[in-house]
């Protein structure tokens, strides 16, 4: 697996995949989906898929796939090498969601939550696999949110596929376990090799950020120590996590956006507020031309 495409610009999400094995275009196949790095306040979230012919499932079991979280890092790396080495019958794709892309989505004016983002990413990966000519038949997904709702959603989009959405799918289905390994290994590599563009020769950023989970004291300590008063954090941090937000509230300069706080304000653009400021002396009111352009007469220079 080569993460160069992502590392070139780690502010943007990126899709990386293996070649499509010829056999998967003919024989009916199964596909597993899992994610890694959903909880942490740092780094990317990675979606992984793995697919192979239905007839190859026994071979998967023999390769020793299990829930990636119960495996050591070395074991996972080894298994990933095995997946890469089985390219003649197995394919994989990963979608790396950059922490900045996650923040951008979640902090949008029209809120876009993490579950929807996850669902959309999974749907995109299934579609991509179908588009590449893989003869998909069965799809196994580790659930995000309510399993049955998620399953209905997927079935609505892909009525021809046999879709199973269930918790702990990675320990139940070897193909999901393989997908989970792809996701976890690439997330680990992306975090380990993270290039901080905010870093300069004289201003190094510490790598002692712990597990990245908000509950980890080392992660919290790292977050608090790296705050830049105006910009907050490096883009390695997910600004949309409440842990990150709280630290900024305490340690950084206040930044006000026009979609915050006053909910009633969101409904009425600020143009109206100019007209609302009526009842004032007509002599002091500027013409519509100026009002629409937020142009004011300057009566003084601060002080």
């Amino acid at each position: 697996m080569n993460l160069r495409d992502f590392e070139e610009d780690n502010a943007k999400s990126c899709v990386i995949g293996s070649d499509v094995p010829g056999v998967t275009k003919g024989e009916p196949c199964c596909l597993g989906i899992d994610e890694a790095g959903r909880g942490p306040v740092l780094g990317p979230m990675v979606y992984g898929i793995c697919y192979c012919p239905l007839s190859g499932q026994d071979r998967l079991k023999d390769m020793g796939f299990a829930d990636s979280k119960t495996l050591s890092e070395e074991q996972r790396e080894k298994l990933f090498e095995a997946i890469a080495g089985a390219g003649e019958f197995m394919g994989w794709t990963i979608h790396i969601l950059a922490p900045n892309a996650i923040s951008n989505c979640m902090l949008r004016r029209s809120k876009y939550n993490l579950n929807t983002l996850s669902h959309d990413t999974a749907i995109g990966l299934i579609q991509r696999t179908l588009d590449s000519g893989v003869n998909l038949q069965e799809v196994y997904v580790d659930t995000v949110g309510d399993a049955s709702k998620y399953q209905d959603k997927l079935k609505g989009i892909f009525p021809d596929l046999d879709i199973t959405v269930t918790p702990k799918a990675d320990s139940k289905f070897p193909i999901v376990s393989a997908a989970s390994i792809c996701a976890k290994v690439s997330r680990d590599r992306a975090v380990k090799g993270w290039g901080f563009f905010e870093e300069t020769e004289s201003n190094k950023i510490s790598r002692q950020f712990g597990s990245g989970y908000p509950s980890d004291p080392e992660t919290k300590k790292w977050l608090a120590s790296m705050v830049e008063p105006v910009f907050g954090f490096t883009q390695f941090v997910r600004f949309s996590w409440s842990t990150a937000g709280k630290i900024l509230d305490d340690k950084a300069v206040t930044v006000n956006w026009d979609d915050e706080d006053e909910d009633e304000k969101a409904a009425t653009p600020s143009v109206l507020s100019f007209f609302a400021a009526k009842g004032e002396d007509p002599k002091q009111k500027k013409h519509q031309y100026f009002q629409e352009r937020f142009l004011h007469s300057v009566t003084d220079f601060g002080s």
């Binding site: 951008n104 910009f231 300069v253 026009d258 629409e292 352009r293 142009l295 002080s303």
Partner: protein, 202 residues
């Protein structure tokens, strides 16, 4: 109250400052590591819309060039006047010809108040320029154009007149003339005396 503006700090060699107008209010004035944290986050999607992030928010922006004939300055008051009597001085510390402005999420558009506001210097000319001069020059251009077009029309008329004569003349004295009766018909409508003379000869 009057404020002296000291422009000696900027001249032809001053490198233009890079300015960004953000879609949020930052409750702080002072140094900030813009080149380290913000500039590297800017992406150009190739469709004249820039993209960047600030505090995890997605920004969309574009470059604004100042109106023709205008220069941007950053004026700084280095020392606050202690009393009202004390003269204030603003020092021009930086200059610029363009800046980048950012919206939240929405790409820049001509309907943005800022883009519309940037046309104010042009509109203001119509409000404040000396009218008398303008209407006089308009008058001059108009009369010149009228005179010129009259001249053109006259030349054209003369040209047509002579061409007509030439054609008719050629017609009657052409060595290939065979259909006299037809020619006569034409000549009856003609106004040229010589043609008429020829016509009445039989």
């Amino acid at each position: 109250m009057s404020v002296e503006v000291d422009l000696s700090g900027v001249n032809g060699e001053t490198a233009p400052a890079k300015l960004h107008l953000l879609p949020c209010e930052i409750e702080h004035t002072g140094p900030a590591q813009v080149a380290q944290y913000f500039t590297p986050s800017i992406r150009d999607d190739g469709q004249r819309v820039l993209q960047a992030s600030f505090r995890g928010r997605e920004l969309r922006g574009g470059n604004i060039t100042l109106p023709d004939g205008y220069t941007g300055l950053v004026l700084k008051e280095k020392h606050k006047a202690v009393s009202d009597e004390e003269a204030r001085v603003f020092h021009a510390s930086q200059k610029f010809q363009e800046f980048t402005y950012w919206n939240m999420e929405t790409p820049p558009s001509r309907n943005d108040a800022l883009q519309k506001a940037m046309h104010w210097p042009d509109i203001s000319k119509a409000v404040s320029e000396m009218l008398y001069v303008t209407s006089m020059s308009k008058f001059h251009i108009w009369s010149l154009m009228t005179m010129f077009s009259t001249f053109l029309v006259r030349i054209l008329m003369l040209h047509v007149y002579f061409t007509m004569h030439l054609l008719i003349y050629y017609h009657y004295f052409s060595p290939f003339q065979i259909h006299a009766p037809v020619d006569r018909n034409i000549s009856q409508n003609g106004s040229h005396t010589r043609v008429k003379l020829e016509d009445s000869s039989p």
